[in-house]
Structure formats: C-alpha cells, structure tokens
Symmetry: D2
Subunit: 124 residues, 4 copies
C-alpha cells in the first residue's frame, strides 16, 4: 500500500456508531439492511454530501438503486429519517437528517426505563 492510498484512507475517516444504537436498533423496528442504509447516509453527510441519490447509495451496498429508493421512502414514512431544506447563498439544498432516529431512540430508552422502574430487575 503506497502513501497516497494510506492518506486517502485516513482522509476518508471513520464513522462512529453509538453502542446504544447498535444494541437497540432491532427493538426500534429496524432490520440490518435498513440500519446499514442509515449508516451509509450518515457517512455521506459526514463527508459533506448530505443528499446522496439512491444510485450513489446502491453503489456502496449490495442492494439495487430501486431497493435503496424504496427503503429510503419507507424509513421516512416510518419516522427514522427526514429531508430538511437548507439555503446556502440563497440556493436551496435538500439534505437528509437522522434526527427522527435519535428521537425514537430517546423515547425508547426513557420509556423502557420507566417500565423497568416498577418491580425492576436490571441484570447485565
């Protein structure tokens, strides 16, 4: 591996996934494929491309472009993902936001907490 490759790998960076999300995404109703799709969207956002096309997403996944398109729509409808508008220098841009995912995770964690608090039993 030469220097240019090493540098480009480092510049690519890493994606940090909170353990708490990895532990609970199935309980939120997400499949592994959907979780990976959300991670790919997050990586695009982090790389400064906040509105990847289904084609661009499919190029990084084992799913086809129409599959990605359908999954994105489903994730939006089920409240895991949303599209925000942003104006930069008076040009309008669309971008994905994972805010709904964190909203769901918060509600899951605090509701679970409340239930656990009655007769309680928290091992692990």
């Amino acid at each position: 591996m030469n220097k240019e490759q090493f540098i480009s790998i480092q510049m690519e960076g890493s994606l940090s996934i909170p353990g708490i999300l990895l532990l609970n995404y199935p309980k939120l109703g997400l499949t592994e494929s959907e979780m990976m799709l959300l991670l790919q969207v997050q990586l695009f956002i982090q790389q400064g491309k906040p509105f990847p096309t289904p084609d661009e997403l499919a190029a990084r996944m084992s799913a086809s472009s129409p599959d990605c398109s359908m999954s994105l729509r489903s994730l939006i409808q089920r409240g895991f993902l949303k599209i925000d508008d942003e104006d930069i220098q008076s040009i309008r841009f669309e971008k994905y936001s994972l805010e709904p995912l964190w909203d769901k995770l918060y509600r899951f964690l605090t509701e679970t907490k409340k239930e656990q608090c009655e007769p309680e039993k928290t091992e692990e």
Copy 2:
C-alpha cells in the same frame, strides 16, 4: 433521561467503522446482514467479551440464534472471521478475531490499485 442512563450510554462507548470498509464491504462479498454481524462481534470484543454466543448476538439483531450461528460459520469458512485461542493465567479462552477481514480488505485495495495503475485513471 436521568444521570445514570446518560453515564451508561457514555460508558457503552461507540464503535468506529473505517469509511474504507463501509465503502467496500459489498465488493468483498459481504451482505448488509453479515456486515452488521461482524460489527456486533467487534462491539463485543471492544466491550471485553471477545467470544459472544449466537444467543448473545441474536439478542442484539433481528436474526435468530440459529441464523447467527450459521452466519458465523459461513463467515469463518469464507475467510472473514477466525477464532483464536488465548491463555490467561493458564486458563484457555477462545475469542473472535476480525484479522481475516482486514487481510481481505488490504488485498482488495492493493489489487484494485494495481489494476487502476496500468492505463491509470484516478480521479476523486
């Protein structure tokens, strides 16, 4: 969310996935489910439990325990995962290692590079 929950979320930590892996796992022959399974194994390793059972893995995934078991076996056979032995205080432990995955990724990156290097064309 109370203090105890916040602290336990932070103590849980995060898993860092190299961008280069997220960009290329399908080209290595991995599906989304398999990639997520490897990430779960990695998270267990990081949390000091380097040999999770299929049951423990299934509890964090939308797959069943027999599914996880079968996937683990397949990942080992296809050279993405291995089991190492370790002796601690003369007690033998088994643990998973993702070394074969990084080996495959290295070979993929350097071979791809070589091909690209003949008539060359490296934009981006």
Copy 3:
C-alpha cells in the same frame, strides 16, 4: 506499507470521542494535557488493559512518567477519574473508570441548560 502493518493498524482500532466532550472539556476544568491523558487511559481500557502504569502512559505522551503519575492523582482527586476493583476468577484487579467524567459532563450540561432556560421548562 505491507499487509501486516495495515492489519495491525486496523486491529488497533480507533477511539471515538463524543463531540459534546470535545466542545466542553475546558468548561469542566480540564486542560489539553489532561484531556489527552484521559483519552490515552480510555484507549488502554478499550484495548483490554484497564490499569496502565504511569510508565506505559508516558511512553505514548510527551509527558514524563512522574508527570503522568501526578496528573492521574490530580484527576482522581478532582473527580474526573476513579479506580475500581474487579474480581475475575477470584483474582483481584484494579481498573480505571471514566464514570466520574461523564457524571461531571451530565451535571454541566443539565445545569447549563437550566440557566439558559429560566423562564422555561426542563423535564428530565
């Protein structure tokens, strides 16, 4: 860079630092050197060595071993770090825990919130 080096870099892994900590550590009373020392402790924990010696820490830092020793003591006294005891197979181990740091961060975030909010309403 040969394959063995690439693999060992990947196996080394990465440390994830929450943005919220990077944004606020000086407000918690930490200097850059102390923050880096805590990160090194965290990396050791993640690598399965939860009780590094001052020597081991100094080998990765530009500080001397006595400096590291003094800083560790100060961090413990000021409530950023603690030492826990653990029994594994009836052998007693000591290990560092960053729990006090997260505790401080939680209190900082929620108190700041309250001040900012005054005429407002902060439920949990």
Copy 4:
C-alpha cells in the same frame, strides 16, 4: 436531560481518532496541546466548517485566540496542517486539511518498519 438535548448530542456526533495516531503523535513531534488543536480542527471539518477562526477554536480550548493562531501557524510551517482552496459555485473558500499529518505518519510508520526489519526487534 430532555429529548432536545439528547438529540443534539447525537447530532453533534463523535470524532474517531485512529489508535495508531494516539500511539505515535509525540514521536512525530507533537505536544498534547497541538494534538488537541488538530482534533478540534478535524471536528470542525467534520461538522461542515472546514476553516474555523482562531477565535472559534479558542472558544473550545483552554488556549487563548492568539495562542491558537500561533499554534496553527507553527503546525503549518512544520508540516502537520495545510490550507487548501476550494471553488464552490465559483466562490472561493479556504479550508484546513490534515493531509500533511497523515503523510508524516505514513513516513514514520514505514521508516520505523524498515529499521525494525534489519536486525529486527519487535517488542509490544
């Protein structure tokens, strides 16, 4: 901690630092303060603000704005950081790049390797 705070913490994200960098920055000639400054620059880049001012950096550090300014200049002169120009919609932007840091790290790792490879000596 209420929902809005939890969500904003998650949206803030995390910064991933390669273990290999944390293990070796002093050998590259960086102090803890300089390493933290580079991490803050990296976090700004990741958050879509690739050219933070010394004031913005100082607000997140225990260093003053003139200190940050001087450190940035020193890091550029010593080859750890550079400023790139970018044209977006024909408007020129400046942005920091950590490419020189990775370049230095690559050269350090491969040169160290070479030395180690002669009479050999791989401890740790």
